[in-house]
Point group: C2
Chain length 190, copies 2
């Protein structure tokens, strides 16, 4: 029997990173938020999915069963909360393309909302996961607005290099899986 050298491990990149791969990005953020709350570091929650309820049945007195409802377009972003006394607001986006992030992934009203939060003194950004690279980036609303402005006449996406330049790389690990608070610290320190 040929004894193959056990070189498999060499090909395994960062352990925790590959562990996270494949898990829904949102779920990783939810886990991270639960961790931050448990550590008393920040209180940040995901908002419920907005649903328009049309019909409700009451099969039992104490039980309401919704039998007809429809998804609604969210009027804000998915996540908000408080960290170090500051209001935090963001949305999470994924890109399956390695080279760029398409701006059509963000609703115009989400951009408006984030811009408005920044005007009122809050910390507003998007988290972008590049699935091919398995990297997560915090992109503040200010550069994002510049790219949205550019898209009116020019390219409708942000290149990966631009995200690297204008964003902050978010560390991935075990707990929290997506350590975006560390990236917020860098943003505050700027």
């Amino acid at each position: 029997m040929v004894k193959y050298p056990t070189i498999t491990k060499t090909f395994v990149k960062d352990k925790t990173s590959s562990k996270n791969r494949g898990m829904a990005f949102e779920k990783l953020i939810d886990e991270s938020n639960a961790f931050y709350r448990a550590q008393n570091k920040a209180v940040i929650h995901k908002k419920p999915v907005p649903v328009q309820i049309v019909n409700v049945d009451y099969p039992r007195r104490e039980m309401a069963k919704i039998t007809e409802a429809y998804y609604q377009t969210p009027s804000t972003t998915d996540y908000n909360g408080i960290y170090k006394g500051k209001y935090i607001d963001f949305d999470a986006k994924e890109s399956s393309v390695a080279t760029s992030f398409a701006l059509k992934n963000i609703h115009p009203h989400q951009i408006d909302h984030l811009a408005s939060i920044a005007k009122h003194g809050g910390i507003a950004f998007i988290l972008i996961m590049f699935k091919k690279q398995d990297t997560v980036h915090l992109l503040p609303i200010e550069p994002l607005l510049t790219f949205v402005k550019r898209a009116e006449k020019g390219r409708k996406s942000i290149t990966y290099e631009e995200v690297l330049t204008h964003g902050i790389l978010v560390e991935q690990g075990y707990r929290p899986s997506i350590d975006y608070i560390k990236a917020i610290d860098q943003l505050i320190a700027r």
Copy 2:
């Protein structure tokens, strides 16, 4: 024909107040929030009602119809946002009893959430509407916690007088119908 004197108006109390009466308290707050946003004064939204979605049909390709879902207990409060750079978090409650507000109207996890927000430097409170009096009061989390503590051994409600003493009376009007931002200003000034 007997000509009755038109004294009806004499019995109509404060016009805007009676106009608001009967409208759902939540709807009045939503309207006020929309007004604050339009005036660029604050960005505060109501969170969607949390729903656990069990089954979704696709009668048409572009249309998702939720056919089975259930209400979930919210893990936080209903309203949050930003005002003057500060994180704002609150819930809205109503009392049909003129003399007191029953503490069972607030979930323990909502109390915990508000206490946690205050610890992180946010502004946390509940808005109570006394329907009989048609008055609205902002009660900060700090006195609320004292009453919750008292309820462990003593009375399970807050008297109307206690709400008057420890809370801030919220002006009602036409736009905004529930001017709780003015009450927040008083709270900040304390």
